[in-house]
């Protein structure tokens, strides 16, 4: 096991880009390699040591054996764990844009908040965010109709707008509240939201499942009432309680399902 610890000593106002510092690429790096490494910042590269104290302990023969610990406010460090396929990254603070984007395996834990695009185009692995995230969590690249296709995102705080846009697989679990258009254009996969939702979940969804335990603001006209279900089972998971099930979005001939907690959304009954 190799433990790489980066401790922030100076925060850059211009974001650092960490796409080259993933377990897949650094598993065989020694401390000196990190000290010689220049990190992209804007249109330049500056020594990593300008920003971090670096500790490397142990050895790794493959990315699986790497644990990267990022201590401090990483709110200006983009692309943490981007495209990683194995190993573990723990961020003890906030993370900037594209945290866990395109990741294929391994695990990322963010103990603070994550900026937008967390888990964009994720294909596998696990992304756990203890705080909140902003827009486009678990989304696709702009223009692509194939979004996140595997893995799991767990969000302990709140989600911003357009959560799971174009979701094509995998699972997103939000423990807090969620803003507009969760699961927009989704074609597969599962979104569970424990908190309240402002409006329009599942806009233009073609398929997949959305379950909302909290209160919903505005429902789209594209959703057609199906039935009241008690203790539904979705994607192999069972949920207790009474839910209103809708199908939609019929605007796109969608066959998705939207489950709405009946107790909290009596006006829809």
């Amino acid at each position: 096991m190799k433990i790489i610890t980066l401790t922030l000593k100076k925060k850059s106002q211009i974001a650092l880009e960490f796409d080259e510092l993933i377990p897949d690429k650094v598993f065989n790096w020694e401390k000196a390699d990190f000290e010689n490494y220049q990190v992209p910042v804007g249109n330049r590269r500056f020594p990593l040591t300008d920003y971090f104290d670096i500790e490397v302990e142990g050895d790794a023969a493959s990315p699986e054996e790497v644990k990267m610990i990022l201590d401090g406010d990483f709110g200006r460090v983009k692309y943490i764990g981007c495209k990683m396929s194995a190993g573990e990254i723990i961020v003890n603070g906030d993370a900037d844009l594209h945290c866990g984007a395109e990741m294929k395996g391994g695990k990322i834990t963010v103990h603070g908040d994550a900026e937008s695009y967390a888990g964009r185009e994720m294909k596998g692995g696990e992304l756990e965010i203890m705080g909140s995230t902003r827009e486009f969590c678990g989304c696709s690249y702009i223009g692509d109709w194939r979004g996140m296709s595997g893995g799991k995102i767990t969000l302990h705080g709140n989600a911003g707008k357009q959560l799971g846009e174009c979701l094509s697989g995998g699972e997103i679990f939000v423990k807090g509240d969620c803003d507009i258009l969760a699961g927009i254009h989704m074609n597969k996969g599962f979104i569970q939201i424990d908190g309240d939702v402002t409006r329009w979940p599942g806009g233009q969804m073609k398929n997949g499942n959305i379950l909302i335990k909290g209160k919903l603001g505005i429902l789209l006209e594209g959703f057609v009432y199906d039935s009241i279900v008690v203790d539904p089972e979705i994607d192999g998971k069972s949920f207790s309680g009474k839910y209103i099930k809708y199908n939609g979005d019929i605007a796109v001939n969608g066959k998705g399902s939207l489950y709405l907690n009946a107790e909290k959304n009596r006006e829809y009954l």
Binding site: S116, Y117, R134, E135, F136, G160, K161, Q162
Partner: protein, 176 residues
């Protein structure tokens, strides 16, 4: 040569409004956007002049809303949002009735109070912002004075801004 001194605005003389009660502050929805007077003045390049203040530094309001806070055409109102506050002139909207919303043409005055939130869509939220509107006695600033007072880029001591001499209606720079 200028075409207009200020936009032509309707004047609703008689206000039939049995339900209106006088209010100090109105909770409103703010929209901003282009307007033909604003566009013409901006692209002619007359932004330093009083004319620009008259076409951009205005809030088009429903006459009923104006009656509620007791303002008439060209009186000052203070508009406040989560993003800032600005003093503009209130005028009767030619698109009324639209009780509960105000329209400020895009320009430096509107900018102070619009939201820069893009929600990752690159575009700020210029429309549909909650605001409050109240009567004020403060004057509406000319463009150059407004830019100085709000952004303070070349001001040494911010405290002195209210006492500084107006930059006026013509460009100020040192000729060779």
């Amino acid at each position: 040569m200028t075409y207009i001194e200020k936009p032509v605005v309707p004047k609703v003389v008689k206000l039939e409004e049995p339900t209106a009660t006088e209010r100090k502050i109105l909770d409103m929805m703010l929209n901003t956007g282009s307007d033909i007077y604003q566009g013409a003045c901006k692209k002619r390049g007359s932004t330093c002049k009083d004319e620009y203040r008259k076409v951009c530094g205005v809030a088009y309001m429903d006459p009923k809303d104006m009656a509620k806070i007791g303002v008439s055409n060209w009186d000052s109102v203070k508009v406040t949002t989560d993003w800032g506050e600005v003093t503009v002139s209130s005028v009767h909207s030619r698109d009324a009735p639209h009780e509960g919303t105000i329209f400020i043409p895009k320009g430096p005055w509107a900018n102070v109070i619009t939201s820069h939130e893009t929600y990752c869509c690159c575009d700020p939220t210029y429309k549909g912002i909650y605001c409050t509107v109240e009567r004020t006695d403060e004057p509406v600033l000319l463009m150059a004075d407004l830019m100085r007072a709000v952004y303070k880029k070349y001001v040494e001591d911010e405290e002195t801004i209210p006492e500084l001499k107006s930059l006026g209606e013509m460009p100020v720079y040192k000729k060779k």
